[in-house]
């Protein structure tokens, strides 16, 4: 195969994965929320309602695309793409197994975060262009939130990078192969629990997920930045939200839960089903997010900002310091030198 064709196929695979993910996750969300809330969720379309999201997407495709008067047409048109494309690009560096990757980037972690931080710009664009005050507030909140939480999110993964000595996501997973004391899986969540907590909080904020869904905040801002979007433009915003939660969950699994590795099973033995293991772990992570979404109230914007600036950033800096000191004192150098 020509290299160009391979690249195209890989991009198509990423796109397919993302769209399928979006559809499956929305269905999963409705089912999970339904069962959390003593309901059933969709049951009528297809067995157990599995085609419900398909129907929703098809319907959104066939809806009228409304251009409200007063919108900034260029930005209004561009914003869903600016939100959608980065969430597609974020799939590129994920390591589903040693061989299953869209592309093998040496700076995969940095790349993923960099790409994901474009999303709030799209949200801000959407909020500004909609010529709607609720959207404007939603967009502004998204921007404020991103500035406040991008830093702790990055800082929270730094200790792991320090231990591993590589930004490649595959290397991070391989560094977690093995056992401590013969029975504990060598996952970074154990020594790096504070980093994981910081990552989980900052990641939820980055995703605009409950309890930090400030920019959509249904009970406050109607639908936030998405208020004026209809049809598939809204569909794109919606899909990218779910695809982002996949990416963050995948990062969490890679960094803290040993990627495709299964404890007490050697990494060679797991190789044939590695992508499946990885997906299962990611979906468990997403399930936890949905669980939180179905239970927790939302924090207030000023509390969110205070949490970010006053607690998370000092805490993550402090934890980097602690990790660095421990590594220096006990001479624990990077285990994988890339």
């Amino acid at each position: 195969m020509s290299p160009a064709l391979v690249i195209v196929l890989r991009i198509l695979a990423a796109l397919g994965l993302m769209l399928a993910n979006g559809v499956v996750l929305i269905y999963m969300l409705r089912k999970v929320l339904g069962h959390l809330h003593l309901r059933l969720g969709p049951v009528h379309v297809g067995p157990k309602g599995v085609f419900q999201t398909t129907m929703d997407v098809l319907k959104l495709l066939s809806k009228e695309d409304v251009w409200p008067s007063g919108v900034d047409r260029a930005l209004f048109y561009l914003a869903p793409m600016v939100v959608f494309v980065p969430s597609l690009m974020a799939y590129a560096a994920l390591a589903f197994s040693e061989t299953w990757r869209i592309t093998d980037l040496a700076t995969g972690l940095l790349y993923t975060f960099a790409v994901l931080s474009i999303v709030p710009i799209g949200i801000l664009m959407a909020g500004w262009a909609s010529a709607n005050k609720w959207s404007l507030l939603g967009g502004m909140r998204a921007a404020a939130q991103q500035i406040a939480y991008e830093v702790p999110l990055l800082l929270s993964v730094l200790p792991v990078v320090m231990i591993v000595g590589s930004l490649n996501l595959g290397d991070v997973v391989l560094a977690q192969d093995g056992m401590w004391l013969g029975f504990l899986p060598k996952w970074f969540v154990l020594p790096q629990l504070p980093a994981f907590v910081l990552f989980a909080v900052a990641g939820l904020v980055e995703l605009n997920q409950t309890p930090f869904d400030m920019s959509e905040a249904e009970s406050e801002l109607v639908s936030g930045f998405a208020t004026e979007y209809s049809a598939m433009k809204f569909g794109l915003l919606f899909l990218s939200e779910f695809s982002n939660s996949f990416v963050i969950s995948a990062l969490g699994v890679t960094l803290f839960f040993g990627g495709w590795l299964v404890p007490w099973v050697s990494s060679e033995a797991i190789q044939p089903i590695a992508p499946v293991v990885f997906m299962i772990k990611v979906y468990i992570g997403i399930f936890v997010m949905m669980w939180i979404r179905g239970t927790f109230p939302r924090v207030r914007i000023d509390q969110l900002m205070q949490l970010g600036w006053k607690w998370l950033i000092p805490a993550s800096l402090g934890w980097i310091m602690v990790t660095g000191l421990v590594m220096k004192l006990w001479q624990l150098g990077p285990q994988v030198v890339g």
Partner: protein, 401 residues
């Protein structure tokens, strides 16, 4: 193409005299403080009548500086449907139908107020069984109404689960009320002289089963919402109304009691079976949203207690006094009030001796809760505004009437 900046304005609907920054009227209402015109502008935002958290059709026009509210104005009337005017052509027996639709979440209380007023005009003695039945259904309705408040308050904070758990319990109450009265919401069960039908056979067992389960469910509800630290951070210290403000603006019910003033119509002006019932009136201290939350949760527990007492102590006898089919009370004027889920629901009837009221006025506690909004909103964030409306438990059906 309009520049979105054109939407940003510092003069809006508020600039019509009421909020003239030059002369703040008599220190009661805070006027907009005015900001540096060179650097920032105020944004006038219209919340409602279609907004997910205005609980119906309340329209709130808020002037915000960033996200902080500097002035607010309520606009009512999106549900004004003339209950007072229509009552002038309804017979006294039919007033309950209108009262049901006034405060549509706790219909029994409205009916009770109307029936009490007519009875006071007629000077009839209501048999004990009717009085106990009325208290029973009123307390059940109070739980159902507070559950709706609890659920929507949860929704306002962004938590979905609470709403659905509350709906589960509300459905079991509605089943009981449906068995008693025949309807889920518009009961028309309490009539002048008593109630319209006897309690169905075997209902006491059902109510007892519900009461026993509900105690545990109530703990679960409280743990789910009130036990959540995010929720506590959202409501504590938000929307403080001190007792003086609450009294001046005519707040009643749980909103007044949360401010530390323990006025309860059931205790101060006893009616129906309340003199014989044993219940506590929960009172808050600071009057913030958290106190209002706690008072309402405790009220549910007390209501559950009273329901049990009503079932246990239900006397035998007639369920209604002898009242004519077409009631023609003597000329006169009378006011009767009950403690509804939202406060003191009063009915003021002027009779001219005919079979319809000459003038029928309905004191809606939510209307008073609405007007305190304009006073306490400035200084809060938009997110707090939502919490405030939620915690005050405003029911638009009765504000607009």
């Amino acid at each position: 193409m309009t520049d979105p900046r054109d939407l940003v304005t510092d003069v809006g609907l508020l600039a019509e005299g009421a909020h003239d920054p030059g002369s703040p009227p008599a220190g009661i209402r805070r006027a907009p403080t005015g900001v540096d015109g060179l650097t920032t502008e105020h944004l006038v935002i219209n919340m409602g009548p279609q907004h997910p958290s205005t609980h119906g059709v309340l329209r709130l026009i808020v002037e915000v500086d960033g996200e902080e509210i500097v002035a607010a104005e309520t606009s009512l009337g999106y549900l004004h449907r003339g209950i007072e005017k229509l009552a002038e052509t309804r017979r006294y027996n039919q007033l309950g139908t209108l009262m049901d639709r006034g405060d549509y979440v706790s219909g029994m209380h409205g009916e009770q107020a109307a029936a009490l007023a007519v009875e006071r005009l007629l000077e009839v003695e209501v048999p004990p069984k009717a009085r106990w039945t009325r208290s029973l259904v009123a307390e059940l309705t109070r739980i159902a109404s507070h559950l709706i408040w609890y659920g929507t308050f949860g929704l306002d904070t962004g938590a979905m689960g609470q709403f659905l758990y509350a709906m589960r319990d509300r459905e079991s109450i509605l089943d009981i009320l449906e068995a008693i009265s025949g309807a889920r919401m518009m009961f028309n069960y309490i009539r002048p002289g008593g109630v319209v039908a006897d309690l169905p056979a075997g209902i006491d067992g059902r109510i007892r089963r519900f009461c026993n389960g509900f105690d545990a469910y109530l703990d679960e509800h409280h743990a789910l919402l009130g036990g959540n630290e995010i929720f506590q951070a959202r409501v504590q210290g938000v929307g403080e109304i001190d007792a003086d403000t609450a009294l001046a603006f005519g707040l009643t019910g749980a909103n007044l009691r949360a401010s530390g003033f323990g006025w309860d119509v059931r205790r101060e002006r006893p009616y129906d079976a309340y003199p014989q019932l044993d219940f506590d009136v929960p009172v808050g201290t600071t009057g913030d949203a958290w106190d209002r939350y706690m008072v309402r949760m405790e009220e549910m527990r007390q209501a559950n207690r009273m329901v049990r007492q009503c079932v246990d102590g239900m006397p035998e006898g007639d369920f209604t006094a002898k009242v004519p089919k077409v009631i023609r009370p003597p000329e006169g004027e009378v006011y009767a009030s009950v403690e509804s889920s939202r406060g003191e629901t009063g009915v003021h009837v002027v009779s001219d001796g005919s079979d319809t009221p000459y003038r029928y006025h309905y004191r809606a506690p939510s209307l008073f809760a609405c007007q305190v909004l304009e006073e306490i909103l400035p200084g809060h964030l938009i997110a707090d505004a939502v919490m405030l409306i939620g915690s005050l438990d405003i029911m638009l059906g009765e504000t607009d009437r």
